[in-house]
C-alpha cells in the first residue's frame, strides 16, 4: 500500500507503522546539522558568560570555603566540651549537652540561621547594650554562628562515638600507669577518638560544605549566592550547572584527600613493607 495514502478515520492500519525510507536520512542529516549549529552558538555564549561572571563564581567559592573553614574550626573546638559533657556523669551537665545536640540536630539549619539572624533583631536593645549588635547585625556573622553551633553538635556526637569506641583496656592501662584524667584525655582518649571518628568527620565536612549553600537565603554571596546573583543578571540557567560542577569538584577533592589522611593516620592498616 502506498504509505502516503489516506486512512479510514476509525482505525489505525497496521502499515501506519513507519518504515525507513530515504527521507529518513535527509531528516536525520538536517536534524544533526541544526544540533551542531546550536552547539556552536551555545559554546560562544558560554565563553562570554564565564568571561563576564567567572570571577564571581570563584569569589563565591572563596566565601564558601572561608565560612566552612571558620565554622569547622570553631565547631571542632566546641565539640570537645560538648562530647565530654554528653558523657559526663553529672546529670544536669549531660542533660544540657543532650538538649543542645537534640536541638541543633533536630531542626533545619535554615531555621537556625533565621532564628539567630532575624531573631536577634527582636532583642536589639539588649544586644546594643551588651555591645554585640555589630556582630548580630551582620548576616555573615550570624550565619557563621549558626554554622559553628550546628557543626559543633554534629561533631560532638561523632566525637562521643569515637570516645565510646576506645577499647576499655587502653583507659585501664592509662590509669594503671597513674595518668591524671587530663593527661589521659590528651594522650590516650582524644587521639584514639579522633582516629576512630575520622571517616564520620569527613562526612560531616562534606555535609557542611553542602549545607553552607543556604547562606544564600540571608543574602550572603557564597558560591550559591553568587550563582543566584549571576542568574538574576544574565538569565542563563547554565550558571547553576557550573556551580554544580564546582561543588562536585570540591567534594571530590575532599573525599580523595580524606582517604589519604585516613591512610596516613592509621599506619597499622598499611600492608607490611617488603624487607
Amino acid at each position: 500500500m502506498d504509505p502516503t495514502n489516506t486512512l479510514p478515520p476509525d482505525s489505525v492500519p497496521l502499515d501506519a507503522v513507519p518504515v525507513a525510507d530515504p527521507s529518513f536520512f535527509d531528516g536525520l542529516v538536517l536534524f544533526l546539522q541544526s544540533v551542531a549549529g546550536w552547539i556552536a552558538t551555545a559554546f560562544d555564549g558560554q565563553v562570554e558568560l564565564l568571561g563576564k561572571y567567572g570571577w564571581r563564581l570563584l569569589a563565591g567559592l572563596g566565601t564558601t570555603l572561608e565560612m566552612v573553614g571558620i565554622s569547622l574550626a570553631i565547631g571542632g573546638l566546641l565539640a570537645i566540651p560538648v562530647a565530654l559533657a554528653r558523657l559526663s556523669r553529672i546529670g544536669p551537665i549531660r542533660a544540657l549537652a543532650v538538649s543542645y545536640i537534640f536541638f541543633f540536630r533536630g531542626t533545619p539549619l535554615l531555621a537556625q540561621i533565621f532564628l539567630i539572624y532575624y531573631g536577634s533583631g527582636q532583642f536589639r536593645p539588649f544586644f546594643e547594650s551588651a555591645g554585640l549588635w555589630p556582630i548580630f547585625r551582620e548576616a555573615y556573622w550570624c550565619t557563621l554562628i549558626a554554622f559553628s553551633l550546628n557543626t559543633a553538635a554534629y561533631t560532638g556526637e561523632i566525637l562521643r562515638g569515637g570516645i565510646e569506641a576506645i577499647p576499655p583496656g587502653e583507659i585501664e592501662a592509662a590509669r594503671a600507669l597513674g595518668m591524671s584524667r587530663w593527661l589521659m584525655l590528651r594522650r590516650v582518649i582524644l587521639p584514639g577518638a579522633y582516629r576512630i571518628a575520622l571517616p564520620a568527620y569527613g562526612n560531616e565536612i562534606i555535609l557542611m560544605i553542602k549545607g553552607s549553600a543556604i547562606a544564600m537565603v540571608v543574602t550572603i554571596l557564597d558560591l550559591m549566592g553568587q550563582t543566584k546573583l549571576i542568574y538574576a543578571r544574565s538569565f542563563s540557567f547554565e550558571i547553576y550547572l557550573y556551580a554544580a560542577a564546582i561543588y562536585l569538584m570540591v567534594t571530590f577533592i575532599l573525599t580523595r584527600a580524606w582517604a589519604r589522611l585516613e591512610a596516613w593516620m592509621n599506619p597499622q592498616r598499611r600492608p607490611p613493607r617488603a624487607a
Partner: protein, 345 residues
C-alpha cells in the same frame, strides 16, 4: 477538514520522532490514570477510617479546646503578658496557629510523598549498582555520585529552574510547534485518541511548575541517591551463606529474594533509612526558598506581619523538633519490631 483523513504517513525521520513522542505522551497518560485509580481506590478503602478518625479528632479538639480555654484563663490571671504570645499562635482571628498548621501539613505531605518515591528510586538504584551489568553499574554510580555531591538547595534550584526555563525556553523559541509540525504530532495524537493534548503541548506558550512538584522531584532524587547506598549496604550485609543455602535447597531466584533477602535487607536498612528520613524532614524547609507555602515559609510570613521573629522561628524549631522526636521514637520502635527474632547479645 478532518485531521485524521489528512494524516501523512510517509515514514520519514519526523514520523519516527512523532510516534515516539505520541507513545511517551500516551505512557504519561497511562501512568496518571493508573495513579488516579490507585488514589481513588485508597480513598475508598480508607473512607471509614477517615470518618472515624475525623470524629475522634472532633471530640479531642472539643476536649482540648475546653482544657485550653481553662488554662488560658488561668494564664491570663497569673501572667497577663503571656497571653499576647498565646494569641499569636492561636487558631482564631489574629492568630497564626492555623497558618502554621496548614504549612505543617504541606511539609509532612512533601516528606511522605518524597519518601515513597525516593525509596522506590533507592531500590532501583541499589539493584542497578549490584547488577552484573556494567552499564547499569555506571548509571547507578553516576546518579549517586552526582546527587550526593551537590547541595540539596542546588539540586532543588536545578530541578525548579531547569524544568521551568527548560520548558519555557522550548516554548519561546518556537521549537515545540516546529517539532509538532515536523513530526505531524497532531495527527498521530488524534489517531490514538489523545487529540485534546495537541493544544496543550504544541500551542500553549506558558508553563507553570509548582513548588510542590519541584520539591517532590528534588527531595525524591536526593532521598533516592542516599537510600541507594543504604540499601546496597543492607543487601551486602545479608550473609552470603544464606543465599547459597537457599539455592542449595532449590529455591528460585525470585523466591530467594522474596523470602531470604528482602526481609533481612529491610532490617539492616532501617537505621540508615530512619536517619535519611530525619534529614529529609529538615530538607523540606529548603523548598520554602522556591515559594512553596510549607511550614518555614508560613513562619516567615507570620514574622513579616507580626515582627516577632524570635518567637515564630523558635516555634517553627519546636515543631520540627516535635516531628523529629516522634520520628526517632517511631523508628526505634519499628527497628525493635523488625529485629524481634534476632538474638541480642
Amino acid at each position: 477538514m478532518d485531521p485524521v483523513a489528512a494524516a501523512p504517513l510517509s515514514a520519514g525521520f519526523g514520523d519516527i520522532v512523532g510516534w515516539l513522542l505520541a507513545a511517551v505522551i500516551a505512557l504519561v497518560h497511562g501512568i496518571v490514570l493508573l495513579a488516579g485509580a490507585l488514589w481513588w481506590l485508597l480513598g475508598l478503602l480508607f473512607w471509614p477510617v477517615g470518618q472515624v478518625l475525623g470524629f475522634a479528632v472532633d471530640i479531642l479538639g472539643a476536649v482540648f479546646g475546653w482544657i485550653g480555654t481553662v488554662i488560658y484563663d488561668v494564664i491570663a490571671d497569673v501572667a497577663p503578658g503571656a497571653t499576647f504570645y498565646i494569641d499569636l499562635i492561636s487558631f482564631g482571628k489574629g492568630g497564626w496557629g492555623d497558618d502554621l498548621w496548614v504549612g505543617l501539613q504541606l511539609t509532612l505531605k512533601l516528606a511522605v510523598v518524597s519518601l515513597s518515591i525516593g525509596l522506590s528510586i533507592g531500590l532501583l538504584g541499589a539493584g542497578a549498582k549490584l547488577a552484573p551489568s556494567r552499564a547499569l553499574n555506571f548509571i547507578g554510580n553516576a546518579y549517586t555520585t552526582l546527587i550526593r555531591g551537590l547541595p540539596e538547595l542546588l539540586t532543588l534550584m536545578l530541578i525548579y529552574y531547569g524544568l521551568l526555563f527548560g520548558l519555557q525556553g522550548l516554548l519561546s523559541t518556537g521549537f515545540l510547534p516546529m517539532v509538532c509540525d515536523g513530526a505531524g504530532l497532531a495527527d498521530k495524537l488524534a489517531l490514538i485518541g489523545l487529540g485534546e493534548d495537541t493544544a496543550r503541548i504544541c500551542v500553549s506558550t506558558t508553563v507553570e511548575i509548582d513548588g510542590f512538584t519541584a520539591g517532590v522531584v528534588a527531595l525524591s532524587l536526593v532521598f533516592g541517591a542516599f537510600s541507594t547506598e543504604v540499601l546496597r549496604g543492607a543487601i551486602l550485609a545479608v550473609p552470603k551463606g544464606q543465599l547459597e543455602a537457599a539455592r542449595a535447597i532449590g529455591m528460585s531466584r525470585r523466591l530467594t529474594i522474596r523470602r531470604i533477602l528482602l526481609p533481612q535487607v529491610w532490617r539492616y536498612a532501617l537505621p540508615g533509612l530512619g536517619n535519611l528520613w530525619l534529614i529529609m524532614i529538615k530538607d523540606t524547609s529548603l523548598v520554602s526558598v522556591i515559594a512553596l507555602d510549607e511550614l518555614m515559609r508560613k513562619t516567615s510570613i507570620a514574622v513579616g506581619v507580626t515582627k516577632q521573629p524570635f518567637f515564630f522561628y523558635g516555634m517553627a524549631c519546636l515543631v520540627y523538633l516535635a516531628i523529629t522526636g516522634v520520628s526517632m521514637i517511631a523508628t526505634t520502635r519499628i527497628e525493635r519490631w523488625a529485629s524481634r527474632g534476632v538474638r541480642r547479645i
